[in-house]
Amino acid sequence: MNSITPERLEKAYAIPKKDEVVKAQKLPVRYHVENGVETEDRPEKFLRAMAAILKHTNYGFALDHFSRVTAKCARCAVSCPIYEVTGKPEHVPCYRSSMLLDIYRRHFTLGGRIRARITGDIGITDEIIEEMAGSYYDCTACRRCTNACPMGIDHGLVTHLGRWILAEIGIVPRALVVSTREQISGDTHNTSAIPLPALLDSLEFMEEEMEGTKNAPVKFPVDQEGAEYLFVAPVSDYMMEAETLMGIACVMHATGGSWTIGTKNYDAINYGLFYSDQVLEKLVNNIEAEAKRLGCTKILVGECGHASRSAKFFLNNFSKICHMPVVNILEYTHDAMKAGKLTFDKTIVTEKVTYHDPCNIARPGWVVEQPREIIREFIPDFVEMTPKGRDNYCCGGGGGTVSIDEIRPWRTTIGGRKKAEQIDKTGAKIVIAPCANCKKQIRELLEDNEMPVELVGLHDLIYKALVLSPDGVAWREPEEDDFDWMGGGEEDFKPPEEAKA
């Protein structure tokens, strides 16, 4: 594992934008924003946006309570993976939250306004906004610090709100908006702009592949009306994580599960969770609409932390029609295994394996034990990271920051440092991360830190070890050129950003 050299640090902190751009946008932050961000009267605009949001949402109650009880004990500091690496006071979670809490107290409470009269405190300034713009995207909203706060202050919630207010005044990473724009008003309705024919192509290829390796007619059902589960995966999986999807299909095949992929909406990604409740709501409504269209009664989300969380905790929140259970694929597979529906070949995965808990599903204690039980079922050499489960460390790409490519040096030097150290300590040769975002981040982390460890999804390994064919053989080596389509296919699909350019 590479150490943090001064050169790496310098790169991590560097702002990858031209000085003119930084000056024109008045944004000394590491991520790009879209052109046309307004710089005039920012403080007033910020306060107006904040007032509007507080008026129509519940955040005000939380800010009020948090600002009343915050004890400033700094226990959160030593629980934040960013602060632990940088040791910079501005990375203390409580400090990050205090920026917004101070603004709340100063501008939105009577006591604050009176105090300001006396002390002459002008409150929010351009500088504070610039600082928040950087700070709220240094934070990965992993909510680890919340576990350490005696008062129960949820710094992840404050970051979540801070980002929304900033987005309302035009400050939001371009990478996030480009993706959600394609979902909301693009032709393909998915973040990677993958057109339907390409999706169908890739499904067909995967089916052929599985026919060969598993000797079983495993299918990806498409637009099956009346299926029990509508299946949504992070759409990038169809291009990058074929084995995860094939593993899922094999589990569905083995269990005889009634499921379908919908052609009108096949993307589970919801970056609204990371910067705007309005976007979050639109996107979960789209998933619900697709389920309704096909008459599905449940939603099954593939290997993805934030997508599972946004569906599970917000679908019914924003539901237009009715309440619908949301199931993460790890829960489904776990239940199937417990019911004795899955047979594994325990000799397939022999390397030492460790497991990374995606924050969005582990922090609430939702998906913690299930994957471990599955792993223990067919992987003999399993080793845990410490800490783990609800108290795990973020991979360093949480809160949507993994999709911001320009901050990769930051993510792999600072944000993911704790995770890299954890992985290194286990001595594992394979790390499992059942989340599209964690996968991308940890891959980059391993690469930039030159760690000889392989990153996979849990269903990638299930794909190999699950016995489907009557002859009891779990795995046949695929032909040499089986995966050519994946490399070749990529040229057809430009990321929406380039496609639009």
């Binding site: 509007a52 109650f61 939380a62 400033k72």
Partner: protein, 239 residues
């Protein structure tokens, strides 16, 4: 002077206690109604009550939390709080005072030695907490004036208390110390509901408030956009 002390430990104390009690009941009720309001406005109201209750309770007896972060600071903080809560309530003279002023009679008081030990740990603890706050980079950066002020203020009745119970120390200053002791206690009582010390009552609600705040009202985003006078989402406008 005696009359003044009499007044402070009598009517003034009763007034301060009433302000403290009603003030705390008020913030508590307001916070509970906040939680109710939040859930009413939100589309989905499933709150993991059991889980939140368990976590909240675990912070009352924070054995499992101590060793994780800032161990020494957390330990001292618990000792500090123990004295803060127990001595004002159960020290012998205080028990009499409570009985006389409010009719609240506990029927017992703590051994003198324990009271002395707790007083010393609270003073020592308070000083340690202040120093740790000032000397630790992280907490110094987030602390403001009130964070130092309230801890210091809380120490005043304890320090004066030591003077009063020690014959040698109290020789010439007993009455002054008594005055300072009673006045600072009264001041603290009045300040409790209006300052950060309100966490004595609000502390158990934090996790519920946060959980309720994660429940979002339906359509809020569109309303925000309308309030801000925008017609389209950014995501609906081609870049």
């Amino acid at each position: 002077m005696d009359a003044l002390i009499e007044f402070t430990t009598g009517p003034l104390f009763r007034l301060a206690f009433a302000i403290c009690l009603f003030g705390l009941v008020r913030v508590l009720l307001l916070s509970v109604s906040d939680i109710y309001m939040m859930l009413r406005r939100a589309g989905e109201r499933n709150v993991p009550w059991g889980d939140l209750f368990r976590t909240t309770v675990s912070w009352f007896v924070p054995v499992k939390h101590i060793p994780k972060h800032r161990t020494m600071y957390s330990l001292v903080s618990i000792l500090f709080h123990a004295g803060l809560i127990l001595v004002p309530l159960f020290y012998s003279s205080h028990v009499i005072l409570w009985d006389k002023n409010t009719g609240l009679s506990w029927g017992f008081w703590m051994p003198q030695t324990l009271a002395h030990i707790l007083t010393l740990t609270t003073i020592g603890g308070g000083i340690y907490l202040l120093l740790a706050r000032a000397l630790n980079d992280a907490s110094r950066h987030i602390s403001r004036g009130p964070d130092y002020f309230f801890v210091s203020l809380l120490l005043v009745p304890f320090i004066t208390g030591i003077f009063m119970t020690n014959v040698v120390l109290a020789a010439n200053v007993y009455q002054w110390m008594m005055m300072l002791h009673a006045l600072s206690a009264v001041l603290i009582l009045v300040l409790i509901p209006f300052t950060k010390i309100a966490h004595v009552a609000l502390f158990p609600l934090g996790r519920y408030i946060a959980a309720a705040a994660w429940k979002f009202p339906k359509g809020a985003g569109d309303k925000v956009m309308a309030t801000l006078g925008r017609e389209k989402m950014r995501e609906e406008i081609p870049a």
